[in-house]
């Protein structure tokens, strides 16, 4: 498969773009593999890529029930940041940020990573103090963080209402300049192409319907395209974690599935060139390269496997948007959609060996796992290859709930709908 380059772009453009080859093969499943990864989302594909690249394990299949990108990797609002409070999170997400910073080169695929910054707005002095604390915690670990005054914020985002009679006056903000956005589909496609060219079989339209076992040990999977055996079976199915684990006889998990909606407006001229988040409710917004404002807010807040949302949240998100940007009142919303998120009990992910022998589990991304895609795959590949976690994901085991070592960045307790 050819490298993408300025020359190949030009040559194909001159030939009417008729000679591009598919970015990955469409192989039939083999009878067995060293590693099967269930779920062809960003995390499953990056895991396959790093298994091959970092550990030389290439006899690998990624099984995806739909098409690549049909899950959350293609449904998210593309924000990438590493501005967490707790050290376990900060280290892990900063590792991800470093991988993002070189990802297009590493994959030879333009994932359009754009470090346009991410600004969290504070609306009370107490909240501003809290952001100062978070910024200091980040800087202790070598992550960039900067407090901004209302005047600096106004210069950065002229359309923002910072007047003192705004519904929620802006008293300052916490900015991470290295944060930003990436083209989500390209991330899936880039990892898929990178894994495929190293020998990984990516098998679409192949739903895992059960597990093959020898006693307790998982020895493969049953699928809509037949049985496939494997020495190791890795699960990375995001919002479907509950369902897939039930196929393995695991009835309960520290996970609930909730829907998160996202929205896009009609295209506008350049309006905002950073990611902004609202501190008084839950709202975040950026502008896509096509010009649409991409934004979202809270999850619907009750268990759901329906990949669509309900109206009350639409209403709430729109009011939050107008509280910040009254000038957007007449802008039309182009479309909205939902994705199913696996909300964990402490709001942090799970990257772990087990819970059954022969099985490896990657889940609990809540609605913040897109930014984690590179580090998640990198750490999961390490865990699968070596049968133990890397230092970076050692705190993110499944048994942390049992051991009383939860990683609760927001301090919300075991309340998935609040994380």
């Amino acid at each position: 498969m050819a490298e993408y380059s300025a020359l190949s772009l030009l040559a194909n453009a001159l030939k009417g773009n008729k000679d591009w080859k598919p970015a990955w093969r469409k192989p039939d499943p083999k009878a067995s593999y060293d590693v099967i990864i269930i779920g062809g989302g960003g995390h499953g594909l990056s895991t396959a890529y790093y298994l091959a690249k970092e550990h030389g394990i290439t006899n690998v299949a990624v099984l995806e029930k739909g098409w690549l990108g049909s899950g959350n990797v293609g449904r998210n609002t593309t924000a990438v940041r590493s501005n967490y409070l707790l050290p376990a999170n900060t280290r892990f997400y900063e590792h991800s940020m470093k991988l993002w910073e070189n990802l297009s080169h590493d994959l030879n695929y333009n994932v359009m990573f754009s470090q346009r910054g991410c600004l969290n707005l504070a609306h009370t002095p107490a909240q501003f103090d809290d952001y100062a604390r978070r910024g200091n915690a980040m800087r202790h670990l070598g992550v960039d963080a900067e407090l901004m005054t209302p005047a600096q914020i106004k210069r950065l985002i002229p359309a923002l209402d910072i007047s003192s009679d705004a519904r929620f006056p802006v008293v300052g903000g916490l900015m991470q300049r290295r944060a930003g956005t990436a083209r989500h589909d390209a991330v899936a496609w880039g990892y898929a192409r990178g894994a495929d060219r190293r020998g990984v079989d990516i098998i679409e339209n192949c739903e895992v319907t059960g597990f093959l076992r020898d006693g307790d040990r998982i020895t493969g999977v049953t699928t809509s395209r037949g049985d496939i055996r494997a020495k190791k079976v890795a699960v990375a199915v995001a919002g479907s974690t509950g369902r897939v684990m039930q196929l393995a006889g695991i009835e309960t998990m520290p996970i609930e599935s909730h829907v998160l909606q996202a929205f896009v407006t009609e295209s506008l001229k350049p309006f905002i060139d950073t990611v902004v988040t609202f501190g008084m409710g839950h709202f975040y917004m950026s502008q896509s390269d096509k010009g649409g404002l991409v934004y979202g807010g809270d999850i619907d807040g009750y268990n759901s496997y329906a990949q669509r949302g309900n109206l009350p949240i639409v209403d709430e998100v729109m009011s939050e948007m107008l509280a910040l940007f009254p000038g957007l009142a007449r802008v039309r919303m182009l479309r909205s959609w939902g994705g199913v998120c696996d909300m964990s009990m402490d709001g942090s992910p799970i990257i772990t060996t087990g819970p059954l022998p022969g099985m490896y589990l990657n889940c609990g991304w809540c609605y913040g796992g897109f930014k984690a895609t590179p580090a998640s795959g990198w750490c999961f590949a390490w865990t699968i290859a070596k049968d133990e976690p890397h230092d970076l994901n050692a705190p993110f085991t499944l048994d942390r709930f049992h051991r009383g070592l939860v990683i609760d960045d927001k301090g919300q307790g075991a309340n998935p709908r609040l994380h």
């Binding site: 009835e251 309960t252 609930e256 599935s257 009750y302 268990n303 496997y305 049992h402 075991a414 998935p416």
Partner: protein
Amino acid sequence: MLITCPYCGPRDVIEFTYQGDGNRERPDPASQNFEAWNAYVYDRLNPAGDHNEIWQHSGGCRAHLRVVRNTLTHEISSVAFARGDHGPVARRKAEGRS
């Protein structure tokens, strides 16, 4: 989504607050059964289909309700007051966690 409160009648979901999984059983406060407390706090059934859940009619009569709702279709098949001896419609097996 409409929830039919047994006291107030059918009302829009915005009047209600979701209180989560209704299958959980709170151990006796004096209990030192670690497994039972752990299951109560952290483990969830999270089914794709009918789910027993607790909602509060916080914008109405404020009663807590047991609701059976399908997590794939949002169809609600039963609503009852949570208080009293209406137990959960299908309790999870006592040994449910693994």
